[in-house]
Subunit: 596 residues, 2 copies
C-alpha cells in the first residue's frame, strides 16, 4: 500500500514518486495551496496540494485532523527560506498527485501533541489516542529497545528463555494473590504467579542451567505508590555460579543496556555496599547515591545530655540518634522548615530538631536553635566536627527508634537532595548485599523473611539455628538512583537447610509439606547450587525514559484502583458462569449480575 | 565455579586443566579405576579416577547417580581402542584430580534416559527429573531457538513487541473465559484473555503500525484433543498492508524458520487454496496436502440410481455424495474395513460403502461390492473413470449431509494416508482463504462468525446486508501437514461495518455498546486499514520437533483435566481470602476450605 514511510523521507528521495499512508496531523490552507502534515510511526512529512489537480485538491480541502490518508506524490525540495529545521523531513516536501481517504475521524477528545494537559483517566480511556502522541510512541519504542537489548545479551550468553505457567499455585511473596476458580476441580482455585520463583528453581533442578524470561507477575496490592496489579519482570536464574559471578554478569548486562539505549556510561564495576552501611549512612537499603547528604551517628555524644529526646534513644539499644548536614541550609525559611517537619511526621518522626550554623568561630554562640541549651558546649563542638559543619549550614537531627529515624531521615535526605538539586552525577548504581535473613515481627512475635524463604544464608545450618536474628543472607539488590531495579540471591539447594528456614519462619512441617512439598522433594534429587535475580522492567524503562510513572511506559495500564477505563474492566459476569464455576457472590447487587 | 562445560570438551582441550560441574549420569568401576560420565546442559564427558589419588578416589567411589559434582582434572586422549563415536566428547576423557560433592541425590523415580516407559502423570509430577532427559532438553532448546528466530525476523522488520494486559475483559473467541475476582471492585471480575485481539487492533488505531507479541492465551475448554488451558501465541498485527502483503511476509518468516531451525525448504510461494476447494477435494479446511487421496463428487451420477442411501443426499441441496480412491486398497482385509467403518462412525457416518476394483476390463463384473447391483453399469463406469480407478484399488463412498460426509471422509482420508504411509513429501504448507463470513446455526437459528466478529468481509456493506450467508471474509489460515498453525484476517476498521456484523450475529445495539463500545468508539477516530495473524507456538514447535503432544514442548504443562500434578494446582484457598473477594463456594466441601 505504501512505498515509503512519512518520517524517513529526505533529500535522497528528491524527484522520486512515493506512496504514503498516515494520519492528518495538521492541515493548513495558505496562499491558495493546501499543506497537510502527514504522520506515521516514523514521523511527519509535509504534503502540498495545489489547485492544478482539482480533484485531489478538493479531497485535500475536505480532510480534517486524524483522517487516515493514502497519498501519492513526488518528493521535491522546499522553496528557499521554507526549510524547517524542527522537522526531520524539513528540507523536503511531497507534491501531492492523488489522495485517498482510507478512513475519516471525528475530532479527537484531546490533541495529538506531546505536551498536553489532560487528566489521566481521559488518557487511559482514550489510550488509542494518547498512544499516538510522539512522546508515548517514543516510550513504547524505548521499552521495545530495552527488552530486545536485554534478550540479545542473555541469548548470546546461552540463557534459554523458558515460559512458566500463569495458572499456578500461591507462593509466599508477601502480597495478596489473584485467584482463578477452576471449573473442572470443584472448590479449587489457581493463583496467578507473584513471580516464577519456584518454577525457575525447579528449572535449575531440571538441569536447564541458565534461564530467563520476560514475564508478567501479579500482585493484588493496594496501589498507593506507583504500582500495577500486573507488571513485567526480567526473571533470571543460573546454576553453578556464585553471587560474585552473577553480579558481574548482570552489571555487564545493565551497563551495556544503558550505553546502547541512552548512551550513558555507568560505573565499572558498580559499587557494592552492605545493608548495614546503607542503613547507617543513608537510612535506607535503597540509597540514592546521587545525593551527597549522609546521616551521622551521634548517639555516643548524646548519651549523657540532659535532653530526653536525644538521650533516651541514645541509650536505647533499639534507638538511634543522627545528625545530617545540609550545606547552605541556613537559607531555609521558617516556613520551609515547618513543611519539612510535617514531611518527616509522615514517617512517624515526632519532630525535626535542627541547628543553624551561623558562625563556627563563635562556638556555641554561633549556633542558632532552641536545642542548643540542652547540651554542653563541648558536645556541640564534637557534633559539628563530626558532621563537618560549615558556616551557613543547617544541621538536622533525628532521634527515635532506629526504624523511625531511618525512615524519616532517609526520606528527608532524598527530599532535600531532589528538591534542592544536590545531585552528584546523573546515574548512580549500587549493589546492596549482606542483608539480614530475617526481621523480627514484634506484633506477630515471629521472624519474617527479608527476601523470600528460599534465600540461602551465608552461614552454616548450625549457626543459623543458633542465632537466626543475626544471620545474613546471600542476597543482592541492585539499586539505581534510589530505586530498587533488581533483586536476587543464591537459593537454598538442600532440603535440610530449607526445612530449618521454614521452621524459623514458623511454617510447620505439615504446612511446609502441603505448600512446598514439591520443592522439598525436588531438592533431594541432585539440586545444583543456583541463584538468580529479577529486574523490574517497567521501572527500568521508566527511569531510562524519565517518565513520571510506570503507567507511562505500559501500553494499557490499570488505574490506581486496579481498573481499566478503556475496556471497562473488571466487569460483571453472568450468574450461569458463576454457577458453572461453583461460586456465588456474597452480596449480589441485584439486576447487574443478570443483565451482564 | 567451572572453566568449561562437560559436553564441549574435545581434542582441542588436550592437556588443559579444567573445572567441571554437573550430574553423575553413570558411574562404573572397571579394572580398579572409576569412570564417571558427568552430564551438564552441553552434554556428557567421561571422567576417570584412579587409586593414585586416594582421597578423590574414595569420594568418587561413594557418588551415585544424579549426585551433583564439581571436578577438577586434566583433559587427555583416550587410550587406543576406547574412543566412543556415540559421544560428542568420545575422543577424550578427563583425568580427575579433585572431586567435590555439591549435592547428593536420592535414586530418581525413573531413569534419566531418552527412551523411557513412564506414565505421563509421573513425568509431570517429577517434571524436574523428566526435563533432565536429553530428548526434553532438546525440545526446550528448539522451542527457545524457534521463538528467538521468529522474534529476530519481526524485530528486523520493525515490528514492535508490545505487552498487552492479562487482567482484562471477556471477548468472544468462542471458548469459556477464565475469570479473576476483583477485590477492589465488588462483584466484578477480570477475564484472562483468550487472545489479545482487541488490544492489538487498538494498537493499530494508536498508530503503532507493526506489532507482535509472544503471548499467553487462556481458554477454559474441555481438554479432549491436544489442548492446554494456557497456550502461547505469536500474535501479529499490522496497518497499511493488504492480505497478500501480510501473507507474503508471514510465509517468508515461516520459510526462514524451517530453514534455520530444521534445515527444511518449504515451498516458495506457499500454495493458496480457497475454502470451498479445500472442502470439496479434502473435506476439510485444514487439508493435509502430503496425502494424495481426494474426495470426488459423484452426486450428479447418483441422482437417478435406485439406492436411497446415495440418491437421497445426491438430490438434497445440503447433501453430498463422494467417492475416494485408495490405490492398492484391494489388499485391505474385511477386518480392516470393518475398523474403518467404525472409525467413520465417530464422525457421524452411518456406514462405509466401498468397491473393490478387481478387473476394470471386465466392466461391472470386475467390481466387487454389495452396492454394485444398485446402479446401472454405465454409472459405475463413469464413477470409475472419474476417480481414476485402477485394478487393485479400493473405492470408498460417502453419502449424507455435506457436513457429515466432509468430516467422516476427510478424517478417513487422513487416517488412510498416515496409517498406510501414503505421504507425498514431508512438509506441505497451504494458505486457505475465501472463508465464508458466517455459518448458520440450525439449533440457535442464527448466524455465528466463522472466524471472529472483527473479521472484514470481502464485499461491501450493502452486499453483506443483502446476503450474509454467501459473504466471504478476508481471512487466511496457514495449514501445515493438516494442522492449522496460523490464522488471521484483515479486520473491520469502520464503525458502520462493525455494527452491521454485530447485528447479523444477533448482538443488539445495547449489548454491542456494553461489550464493545470502546472498539466502536475507537473506529471513529481514524482507524487505519489493518490486519494480522496469530500462530500457535506450541503446535509449531510440536510439529518441528516431531513431538506427539504439545505437552512435550511446554516446560510445565497441565494434564488433560487442567491440573498441575507437580505443584498440586489448583488448590483450596482460605475462607478469609474468599471473603475479601466477596465470593463464596456454592457447595463447601467442609473442612478443606478452612484448613488450607
Amino acid at each position: 500500500m505504501r512505498s515509503h514511510k512519512c518520517g524517513e523521507l529526505n533529500t535522497q528521495h528528491l524527484g522520486q514518486s512515493v506512496a504514503l499512508c498516515g494520519w492528518v496531523h495538521r492541515r493548513r490552507d495558505h496562499g491558495g495551496v493546501i499543506f497537510i502534515d502527514l504522520r506515521d510511526r516514523a514521523g511527519l512529512v509535509q504534503v502540498v496540494f495545489d489547485p492544478d489537480a482539482p480533484e485531489s485538491f478538493s479531497i485535500a480541502e475536505s480532510v480534517r485532523s486524524e483522517y487516515v490518508l493514502r497519498i501519492e506524490g513526488i518528493v521535491r525540495d522546499r522553496p528557499e527560506g521554507t526549510h524547517n529545521s524542527n522537522m526531520a523531513t524539513g528540507e523536503i516536501e511531497v507534491l501531492g498527485k492523488s489522495i485517498e481517504v482510507l478512513n475519516e475521524s471525528e475530532t479527537p477528545p484531546f490533541p495529538i501533541e506531546s505536551e498536553i494537559e489532560v487528566n489521566e483517566e481521559m488518557r487511559l480511556r482514550f489510550r488509542y489516542i494518547d498512544l499516538r502522541r510522539t512522546e508515548m510512541q517514543h516510550k513504547m519504542k524505548v521499552r521495545r529497545d530495552v527488552t530486545r537489548n536485554l534478550r540479545q545479551f542473555l541469548d548470546d550468553k546461552e540463557f534459554f528463555e523458558i515460559e512458566t505457567p500463569y495458572l499456578t499455585k500461591a507462593t509466599p511473596e508477601g502480597a495478596r494473590d489473584y485467584i482463578v476458580p477452576s471449573r473442572t476441580h470443584p472448590n479449587a482455585f489457581f493463583a496467578l504467579p507473584q513471580s516464577p520463583q519456584l518454577y525457575k528453581q525447579l528449572l535449575m533442578v531440571a538441569g536447564m542451567e541458565r534461564y530467563y524470561q520476560v514475564v508478567r507477575c501479579f500482585r493484588d496490592e493496594d496501589l498507593r505508590a506507583d504500582r500495577q496489579p500486573e507488571f513485567t519482570q526480567l526473571d533470571i536464574e543460573t546454576s553453578f555460579m556464585n553471587e560474585q559471578e552473577i553480579m558481574a554478569i548482570m552489571e555487564q548486562m545493565i551497563r551495556r543496556l544503558f550505553k546502547d539505549i541512552i548512551d550513558v556510561d555507568l560505573a565499572d564495576p558498580f559499587p557494592v555496599m552492605s545493608y548495614s552501611e546503607a542503613m547507617r549512612r543513608f537510612g535506607s537499603d535503597r540509597p540514592d547515591l546521587r545525593i551527597p547528604l549522609e546521616l551521622v551517628d551521634i548517639a555516643e555524644e548524646m548519651r549523657e545530655v540532659d535532653f530526653k529526646v536525644f538521650s533516651g534513644p541514645a541509650n536505647d539499644p533499639h534507638g538511634r540518634v543522627v545528625a545530617m548536614r545540609l550545606p547552605e541550609g541556613g537559607e531555609l525559611s521558617r516556613k520551609e522548615i515547618d513543611d519539612l517537619t510535617k514531611f518527616v511526621g509522615i514517617y512517624g518522626a515526632k519532630g525535626l530538631a535542627y541547628i543553624k550554623v551561623n558562625d563556627l568561630a563563635a562556638g556555641v554562640e554561633g549556633l542558632q536553635s532552641p536545642i542548643v541549651k540542652f547540651a554542653p558546649d563541648d558536645v556541640w563542638a564534637k557534633v559539628m566536627a563530626k558532621v563537618g559543619a560549615q558556616n551557613g549550614d543547617l544541621i538536622f537531627f533525628g532521634a527515635d527508634k532506629a526504624g523511625v529515624v531511618n525512615e524519616a531521615m532517609g526520606a528527608l535526605r532524598v527530599k532535600l537532595g531532589l528538591d534542592r538539586g544536590l545531585l552528584d552525577g546523573d546515574w548512580k548504581p549500587v549493589w546492596v548485599i549482606d542483608f539480614p535473613m530475617f526481621a523480627w515481627d514484634e506484633k506477630a512475635q515471629r521472624y519474617t523473611a527479608i527476601h523470600h524463604p528460599f534465600t540461602a544464608p551465608s552461614c552454616s545450618i548450625e549457626e543459623l539455628k543458633a542465632d537466626p536474628g543475626h544471620a545474613l543472607s546471600r542476597a543482592y539488590d541492585l539499586v539505581l538512583n534510589g530505586t530498587e531495579v533488581g533483586g536476587g540471591s543464591i537459593r537454598i539447594n538442600r532440603t535440610d537447610m530449607q526445612q530449618i528456614v521454614f521452621a524459623i519462619l514458623g511454617i510447620g512441617h505439615d504446612e511446609a509439606r502441603e505448600k512446598f512439598g514439591f520443592l522439598l522433594d525436588a531438592l533431594k534429587y541432585g539440586a545444583p547450587p543456583h541463584g538468580g535475580i529479577a529486574f523490574g522492567l517497567d521501572r527500568l524503562v521508566m527511569l531510562m525514559t524519565g517518565a513520571h510513572s510506570i503507567r507511562d511506559v505500559i501500553a494499557f495500564p490499570k488505574t490506581q484502583t486496579a481498573a481499566c477505563p478503556l475496556f471497562n474492566a473488571p466487569a460483571f459476569v453472568s450468574e450461569e458462569q458463576l454457577k458453572e464455576l461453583g461460586i456465588k457472590l456474597r452480596k449480589p447487587t441485584g439486576k447487574d449480575e443478570k443483565q451482564n
